[in-house]
């Protein structure tokens, strides 16, 4: 399994390079926005990947509450963290795209606002995880993740209706998309999905190592008796020898 990682990393790098080439050189230039529109090929796949990761977080959280499986909790943490990273990319590339096209940095555009709210919810999730006691963290975090998931459709509808009352420019353009552009968009999405998978895998391995270290430290403090430097092992069966 571990051997596969470097191979997949190289393949993903090649796929990303190919997707980049397609986006910059092969894709047709958009009529109204010009070359700036090529940000689209990074902005949209990042958004889709972030939403997918948050969905994974929801499923993992429900699984954890149902089965109390610590692996599910690790998956929830990993998907939330990597999801926030991709979400940050969306929130940064969105305004960079909006500025030359519309002259403003931000619009309360549906996708961008929804992404902002999701970013806020999952950052608060990560902060909760960091500041709670490790025994209850998985349970509390899973509960919060469920609330987050329930909130998403409500956020969507509230922003959607607000926008019908107060129309704003749409980042990303509405309407139908040219088939060649769609093809290149999908290639970029595939590349970024593979990349996200690799990053999640790396983060998961880090989490496993972190938990192993914590367990080893707890074991060590159990075995230590007396002042530092004089360790008398308490004899007990089942300990590491």
């Amino acid at each position: 399994m571990k051997k596969a990682f470097p191979i997949l990393a190289v393949l993903t790098a090649l796929l990303l390079a190919y997707a980049f080439y397609e986006a910059i050189w092969v894709a047709p230039t958009e009529r109204t926005m010009g070359d700036v529109q090529r940000i689209f090929y990074y902005h949209v796949p990042s958004a889709w990947t972030a939403f997918l990761l948050f969905f994974v977080n929801f499923v993992a959280s429900v699984t954890y509450l149902a089965r109390r499986n610590p692996k599910a909790d690790a998956v929830a943490l990993v998907s939330a963290e990597v999801g926030v990273v991709f979400c940050t990319v969306v929130l940064v590339t969105g305004p960079i795209w909006a500025r030359p096209v519309w002259g403003i940095w931000w619009t309360w555009d549906l996708r961008l606002t929804l992404t902002l709210v999701l970013w806020l919810i999952y950052v608060s999730y990560l902060i909760l995880r960091r500041f709670s006691d490790s025994a209850q963290t998985p349970k509390l975090a899973a509960v919060l993740a469920i609330f987050g998931a329930l909130d998403v459709p409500l956020v969507y509808f509230s922003i959607w209706f607000f926008r019908t009352q107060h129309p704003q420019p749409v980042i990303g353009g509405g309407g139908s998309i040219d088939p060649v552009m769609l093809h290149i968009l999908l290639i970029n999405w595939l590349a970024f999905s593979c990349f996200a998978l690799l990053v999640c895998w790396a983060r998961y391995r880090l989490e496993v190592l972190k938990r192993d270290v914590e367990e080893a430290e707890a074991l060590e403090s159990l075995l230590e008796v007396g002042p530092r430097g004089s360790k008398a092992k308490i004899p007990f069966s089942g300990g590491p020898q």
């Binding site: 500025r99 030359p100 990053v199 190592l209 972190k210 270290v213 074991l219």
Partner: protein
């Protein structure tokens, strides 16, 4: 075209964010590996 620098900025920003995150993962991994080694030595 003037707007092209925004295109570069967006692509650079994307990879910068990803690299910072992966860099932090690598740093944390190294620190944990070190702690694991230290623990291994002290329990001997």
């Amino acid at each position: 075209m003037n707007a092209t620098r925004y295109l570069y900025a967006a692509y650079v920003a994307t990879w910068l964010i990803h690299c910072v995150y992966i860099g932090s993962l690598a740093r944390r991994y190294r620190a944990l590996r070190q702690r694991m080694k230290d623990l291994g030595k002290s329990t001997r």
